[in-house]
């Protein structure tokens, strides 16, 4: 246990002390914030205003609450996955720079080593993501707070689940990497691509129909939708007091609060089960891969 505790501490320290690794992890959320700060927030704001009947004046606080909810959900949807991905690159870095040789020469079991990467990544991911959640809550409180206690609790649950998903997914992918070149390539693809395919940069409803169907198979999509629902429900309910229910449904569809899998609307419970199930599945795959590698190494 001491070995595991010490390895987790080492891995976490390395993530937060290695400026390169830490800032790479934050680059996607930062890009997103810059995009929102420069034009995306204005685009969403205009879109909301266009969807209300002409002449109807909405409170500024409500508009801010809607836009802020969307920012919060997009930011968390991205950072809860990209931060664990970058933190978990440590397992590849250790292989690339040969540090793994020293660790495997100690009496620590390979399974303990694998578990230490997982726990440290999860811990770093949770720390950074909860800091982001806190920052977003402060922003919403200052501009337009419409979240209920249940919404707050669900956002925290969604965040934890998504970090667990990101950790499990990155563990499975990073398992096969062993060079600095591969780290750069995968890091770039994840940083650039994940924000797009999970619907953080642009709502999935704006994607071509074929792409919408494809992303319907990705569990990360449902995490974004869950977060969006829990971050925007309060503000959308409030908006419902100003405009008809049909208009609210159209807005929900356009901002991905509703998502359809081959025409059928997916419920929030189903989304939660998909996310939790895929996380459990990926954790099982990671465990299995480590067992197989351990057996292969013994016969090498």
């Amino acid at each position: 246990m001491t070995g595991l505790k010490e390895l987790v501490r080492r891995n976490s320290r390395l993530f937060f002390k290695d400026k390169g690794m830490f800032f790479t992890a934050l680059i996607t959320p930062i890009i997103l914030l810059v995009l929102y700060g420069t034009f995306l927030a204005r685009v969403y704001r205009d879109a909301f205003l266009l969807s209300v009947p002409e002449g109807l004046m909405l409170p500024e606080k409500l508009i801010n609450g809607l836009v802020g909810g969307e920012i919060l959900s997009s930011l968390l949807a991205v950072s809860c996955v990209t931060v664990p991905f970058c933190a978990n690159m440590l397992m590849v870095t250790d292989r690339a720079n040969g540090n793994i040789n020293d660790l495997t020469m100690s009496p620590v079991k390979p399974s303990t080593l694998a578990l230490s990467y997982y726990i440290a990544t999860l811990r770093s991911g949770i720390l950074v993501s909860l800091t982001a959640v806190a920052g977003c809550f402060v922003y919403l409180a200052a501009t337009g707070w419409y979240l209920s206690v249940a919404d707050v609790a669900f956002i925290l649950v969604d965040t934890l689940l998504l970090v667990m998903f990101g950790t499990a997914l990155s563990s499975c992918i990073n398992f096969f990497l062993s060079t600095q070149g591969q780290i750069s390539a995968v890091g770039t693809v994840i940083s650039a691509g994940y924000g797009f395919i999970c619907g953080a940069y642009m709502p999935i409803s704006n994607f071509p129909e074929v792409l919408q169907k494809v992303v319907g198979f990705l569990p990360g999509t449902y995490a974004t939708v869950l977060l969006r629902n829990h971050a925007m429900n309060g503000a959308l309910d409030e908006l419902g007091t100003y405009i008809p229910a049909e208009s609210i449904k159209l807005i929900r569809d356009s901002v991905d609060c509703n998502i359809y899998f081959f025409g059928s609307r997916v419920s929030l419970l189903t989304m939660l089960l998909i996310l939790a199930g895929s996380t459990a599945l990926l954790m099982g795959v990671y465990l299995l891969m480590n067992i197989l590698r351990s057996r292969t190494a013994r016969s090498k």
């Binding site: 001491t2 070995g3 505790k5 010490e6 390895l7 501490r9 080492r10 320290r13 390395l14 002390k17 290695d18 720079n97 040969g98 540090n99 040789n101 020293d102 660790l103 495997t104 020469m105 100690s106 009496p107 620590v108 190494a297 013994r298 016969s299 090498k300």
Partner: protein, 304 residues
């Protein structure tokens, strides 16, 4: 003195390439054992098998009397390895690195503090403990790396080219510490190196070529078998030097006479004492042994 490493008929191949081919040798407890060979000779493969990081294809490998395939957990507690490249974390401090590695061996709390104090004195780490590893010089980093390798008091220390890239002064410092460990703690040192003068100080040397032993013995045995002696003659004329009847070469202040062995030098001195006014007999060097045994010259890892 018992054997700490016993290797019998070790085989290891990677696909079609036979990295280690019927290798057998023993390392006695407490000795400095030098393992020489060019890159690709099979040194690292043998070390990886000893450390349990590679499985052998055939033969037997015992460390401390324990077969590697049966008691690797025990072996890991008795072996420390200094790899070619420092494998500590560059963004952590020296103390953070050492405390982490110690904890992997179950050394924590007061036991760790006591061991750290010993290592601090032994490797002059006082001013380094709070510094980030990445900001240390190559020599300082190497000292920390050796301290890391022996933090759990291993019986066997494997040094894989420990002084490559270090300046002569730091190399001397590193070797002083290793010598002191051998004397004070009875540590066995298994060394691979490209520096022949380091191998010359070993108790036993194995020269590996293409996965097999090309030569082995004490440095003296190897020199006597594979390298002739030199006779340096000073204050003589060219005719006098050539008149000795052996291959001779003019050097800055005299002549170097190449002789097959020391007995031949003794015979020459007896037969022509008038020529030997100022002279010295020098044993052949390990470079010559390596060249004679493998047909290849080893200088800083490069084949010549």
């Amino acid at each position: 003195m018992g054997n700490i490493i016993e290797i019998e008929h070790l085989y290891k191949s990677f696909g079609e390439v036979r990295a280690v081919n019927d290798l057998s040798f023993r390392v006695k407890e407490g000795e400095l054992f030098a393992f020489l060979g060019l890159n690709g000779a099979g040194k690292s493969t043998t070390i990886s098998v000893i450390c349990g990081q590679l499985k052998k294809d055939g033969g037997s490998v015992r460390v401390g009397g324990v077969k590697v395939e049966e008691g690797m957990d025990r072996i890991r507690r008795e072996v420390g390895v200094v790899f070619q490249n420092c494998c500590l974390d560059k963004v952590l401090t020296v103390e953070e690195n050492l405390s982490c590695r110690a904890a992997l061996y179950g050394i924590t709390g007061d036991a760790y503090k006591k061991r750290l104090e010993e290592l601090r004195e032994m490797f002059e780490l006082s001013g380094l403990l709070d510094r980030t590893l990445g900001k240390l010089s190559g020599g300082e980093r190497r000292r920390v790396d050796i301290a890391r390798a022996i933090i759990h008091r291993p019986r066997l220390l494997i040094l894989d080219e420990p002084t490559t890239g270090l300046d002569p002064q730091t190399r001397r410092l590193v070797w002083d510490r290793i010598e002191s460990l051998r004397k004070n703690e009875g540590l066995t040192v298994f060394l691979t190196t490209h520096y022949m003068e380091e191998a010359a100080d070993a108790d036993y040397v194995v020269i590996l070529d293409s996965g097999s032993i090309a030569a082995e013995g004490t440095p003296l045995e190897l020199k006597n078998t594979y390298a002739g002696d030199y006779l340096m003659l000073y204050g003589v004329s060219k005719e006098e030097a050539e008149g000795l009847g052996y291959k001779c070469e003019q050097v800055r202040q005299g002549y170097r006479i190449y002789l097959p062995d020391t007995a031949c030098a003794t015979e020459l001195i007896r037969s022509k004492p008038e020529v030997f006014r100022d002279y010295e007999v020098i044993k052949g060097k390990m470079d010559d042994v390596f060249l004679a045994a493998t047909g290849k010259q080893l200088t800083g890892g490069e084949v010549k």
